[in-house]
């Protein structure tokens, strides 16, 4: 692999990129250089800033500060279309193909102008020919005239990869394309995986490639350089020859955990008694499969896993919001039922969703309304269906006081509150009830450090009152610090449940290794040197 001549500018050069979302700094002064004929790997745990960086490189997000040069010329990208014209091709984590049009139209999406006659009429035959050439060049066996939705999931992923890898050159005539691959292999079947690595070997002859994957063996196998992101910062850059998976894990995680912050001394390990919550055989096709567990009253079961592990969906299944196809739960009383939220809430279940603004609360409505909304059927209305406004105001005022929610009054719209205070409102909704089981999905996302600790204290207080808590989270420290036991979810299955007693907490490295499935034997071909 020869380095490009020194006077030749890098294909892409990013300097000191920063991006802030509200209270979180998603990216902080990150540098990145991509050169022709080189594959750079990008690794980091969930929330490390990978997606933000990729979005900036492909023009979807603009950085707050920092510069971006493509082929030596400074650019401020006005959108993905602009990035594409400069030669950036990207495979997205979520598939971005249109199912109801033929494959060739998807491959040539955005380049239709080249195939029109008299402005509007498409030269269909030319389009098919060029698209088929792209597919053949990649060595895939797909008829581009087929309807996209009739392809298998893996084949569709192949189409996406071809579009990103070969499109810039054959459609936009870019000499040195910049190919950005965001977990391209996550949904590939074995045969197509082979094809993918062959394709990478082919395109790397002329392109600069940025490759994001959670499969570290893959990264180590095909990359020339590996960049590690942590908490929005570039913390390391290593050569694959000088590192192994364990080194990468260590670089990706590894912060100090403060036991006080998570109130670990309040964790109940020895005195847990009766069963508090249990699930058996929960299954939803292609999302999660045969999930069973049991926890005791006063226990916190943490569930961790990669973003696509299905843990959020499992949370919705446990609460009965998106009902599983099979499986049952019981709320500590041994009565097994299919989960259904409107039946489970009166029985003592609560659910805090990850998307606070879309699913957790109604921003335009008052704090009091948001607190009372789950209790409209019992606490806040009379037998005749009259709303108990005064009771609502009293209870809301109590919680504003008790949880130190910074709101002028209980009639203040929730939108005026900060993220942490909003989340306290969502929790107050459940604290107002006689809770037995609480399912939380990323309860401290977008919450500042102070409010986080207050939320942790509230959760500990709930366990003291024998509430069983299922905590689904991407925050590893939170997972380790709060949970009595940690369940690792991988590709829709609870792959293992490990102990996390207050005096014997696992480390982040151990957890990350388990989430990635280390030791389960990923078969990744070593690159043909």
């Amino acid at each position: 692999m020869s380095a490009p001549p020194a006077e030749h500018p890098a294909a892409l050069s990013a300097r000191s990129l920063s991006k802030r979302y509200g209270e979180t700094l998603a990216l902080s002064h990150v540098d990145l250089t991509l050169e022709a004929r080189k594959v750079v790997g990008l690794v980091g745990e969930n929330g490390a800033g990978k997606s933000t960086l990729l979005n900036i490189l492909s023009g979807i997000t603009s950085p707050d500060s920092g510069t971006l040069e493509i082929q030596g010329a400074r650019q401020s990208l006005a959108g993905y279309g602009a990035a594409q014209r400069l030669g950036v091709g990207r495979v997205f984590q979520e598939q971005a193909l249109i199912g109801t049009i033929p494959v060739f139209e998807n491959l040539l999406l955005g380049a239709e102008a080249r195939f029109t006659r008299l402005g509007q009429f498409m030269r269909r035959r030319d389009m098919i020919r060029l698209a088929q050439e792209m597919v053949d060049e990649a060595g895939a066996k797909i008829d581009v005239r087929r309807m996209t939705q009739s392809l298998s999931f893996s084949e569709r992923q192949v189409v996406e990869i071809i579009r990103a890898c070969i499109g810039p050159k054959s459609l936009h005539g870019v000499e040195t394309p910049i190919i950005v691959l965001d977990e391209p292999t996550a949904s590939l079947e074995k045969g197509d995986e082979r094809l993918f690595f062959d394709l990478i070997d082919k395109v790397r002859q002329s392109s600069a490639v940025l490759f994001v994957s959670h499969r570290l063996t893959e990264i180590l196998g095909i990359c020339d350089e590996i960049v590690v992101l942590k908490d929005g910062r570039r913390v390391a850059s290593v050569m694959p020859a000088e590192a192994d998976e364990r080194d990468l894990h260590r670089l990706m995680v590894g912060r100090e955990r403060d036991a006080d912050y998570y109130h670990e001394e309040e964790q109940r390990d020895g005195d847990l008694g009766r069963p508090g919550f249990a699930a058996r055989g929960l299954t939803r096709a292609d999302v999660y499969d045969d999930v069973s567990f049991e926890l005791r009253a006063g226990e916190i079961l943490g569930i961790g896993g990669l973003l696509d592990s299905g843990k959020s969906e499992l949370g919705k299944g446990l609460a009965g919001i998106e009902r599983p196809e099979r499986g049952e739960i019981h709320l500590g009383d041994g009565r097994w039922t299919a989960p259904e939220i409107s039946k489970a809430i009166p029985e003592g279940l609560g659910y805090v969703p990850a998307e606070r603004l879309a699913e957790g609360m109604i921003a335009g409505q008052p704090v009091a309304w948001n607190i009372s909304s789950a209790s409209g059927a019992d606490l806040f209305s009379t037998r005749w269906g009259l709303w108990r406004h005064r009771h609502e105001a009293t209870v809301s005022a109590q919680f504003i006081d008790r949880l130190k929610i910074k709101a002028r009054s209980s009639q203040t719209p929730a939108a005026r509150l900060s993220g942490g205070n909003q989340q306290k409102v969502v929790l107050a909704r459940w604290l107002a009830r006689d809770l037995r089981v609480l399912v939380l999905d990323n309860p401290t996302r977008g919450v500042d450090a102070g409010a986080k600790e207050e939320i942790y204290a509230l959760l500990r207080a709930l366990t003291a009152k024998d509430v069983a808590i299922v905590l689904i989270t991407d925050d590893l420290l939170e997972l380790i610090g709060l949970a009595n036991r940690i369940a690792i979810m991988r590709q829709g299955k609870l792959s293992r449940i490990i102990d996390a007693r207050a005096d014997a907490k696992p480390t982040e490295q151990e957890l990350v290794a388990m989430m990635l499935g280390a030791g389960e034997g990923d078969q990744t071909p070593k690159r043909a040197a």
Binding site: Y21, E359, I362, G364, S372, A377, W387, R416
Partner: protein, 330 residues
């Protein structure tokens, strides 16, 4: 939602401060007063007892017809079939009056018929999971066709003075009974909107259906309730409109498709749901009725009236959106 999405929604929601949403009632009231002042100056006949009684009669049908639909709009859905229900129930009521020699008891027929038609809408929407716009666009046509079938294209008359008295009698001097009905129902609907669980759930479903689902509100049931109430009140409006006119004709309820939605929106209930309130529809109705009547008295022709009314509706939504950016939440 991505982080950016959350961020955008947050800043959007920030603008839509609840204060404006809940207290921003003064602008529509100012418009009502301005209209009254303007028309009083522009037309001698406007500010007379006789004309006021007339406006009351006209406005009452509209108010009755769109109070129920206000719940539907508050919940973030839409009911386009209100006018068609008024027409069909009117036709059914006259048919019942004539066929069975009924009197005031025909009102029960109207109410049941209206509620059933609303149930059809609600069931198709909630159980069939079809957008309410599509459902009620379809039933708008079905109900209208059925009514014309029943009327055979003619105006059906009836002779029951007792039934007519329901609308045109004057228990209070100069106030037609239909206005008493309308005001009575408005009070009940407003109380239901502000003081009951049903009302609160309408706000929550309209504010965010995903949130409503996550807090265990039985969505299907409450969606059906809203449409049944919309049908029931449109049925009542149909019966009383027929009583007021002494007949059911093919054009009954025709202007309600535009007028009902116009009144709800001008009153300040957002079509995106969760903002506004059923009580506010009274003001919207007043604005629409005053416009209709005043422009008539001024001798403005029908076509120009349509242009003005349409412009007022769009302007009202423009202004109210500017005031609170309400769409962003949904």
């Amino acid at each position: 939602m991505t982080d950016e999405g959350v961020h955008m929604a947050l800043s959007g929601a920030d603008r839509s401060t609840g204060k404006a949403a809940f207290n921003g009632i003064w602008l529509p009231i100012a418009v009502v007063i301005a209209l009254i002042v303007f028309f009083s100056i522009a037309s001698d006949a406007f500010f007379s007892l006789r004309n006021m009684t007339g406006i009351l009669g006209q406005a009452s049908t509209l108010l009755l017809a769109c109070l129920g639909a206000s719940f539907v709009v508050l919940m973030g859905s839409i009911d386009l079939s209100v006018g068609a229900i008024v027409l069909l129930v009117g036709a059914v009521t006259v048919t019942a009056l004539n066929a069975f020699g009924m009197g005031v008891d025909a009102l029960a027929v109207s109410l049941v018929a209206g509620a059933l038609l609303g149930l059809v809408n609600g069931a198709l929407y909630a159980w069939g999971r079809i957008p309410s716009f599509v459902v009620t666009l379809g039933t708008l046509s079905v109900f209208t066709g059925a009514a014309w079938e029943l009327l055979q294209g003619r105006a059906l008359r009836f002779s029951s003075p007792a039934f007519e008295e329901l609308a045109i009698g004057q228990l209070l001097p100069h106030v037609p009974n239909i206005a008493l009905f309308a005001i009575g129902v408005w009070v009940l609907a407003s109380l239901a909107g502000q003081m009951t669980r049903f009302g609160r759930y309408m706000y929550i479903i309209g504010g965010g259906e995903a949130v409503a689902r996550n807090v265990g509100i039985p969505l299907t049931r409450y969606k059906i309730y809203a449409f049944v109430i919309s049908g029931l009140l449109a049925g009542l409006a149909g019966a009383l409109a027929v009583a007021r006119l002494g007949a059911a004709g093919p054009t009954l309820g025709q202007e309600l498709l535009l007028n009902s939605l116009a009144a709800i929106v001008v009153g300040g209930t957002s079509l995106s749901g969760g903002i506004g309130g059923v009580h506010r529809t009274l003001i919207g109705v007043a604005i629409i009725a005053l416009l209709d009547n005043g422009l008539n008295l001024m001798g403005v022709n029908q076509y120009t009236q349509m242009v003005i009314k349409g412009a007022v509706v769009v302007a009202a939504v423009l202004i109210s959106q500017d005031r609170r950016g309400s769409i962003v939440i949904k």
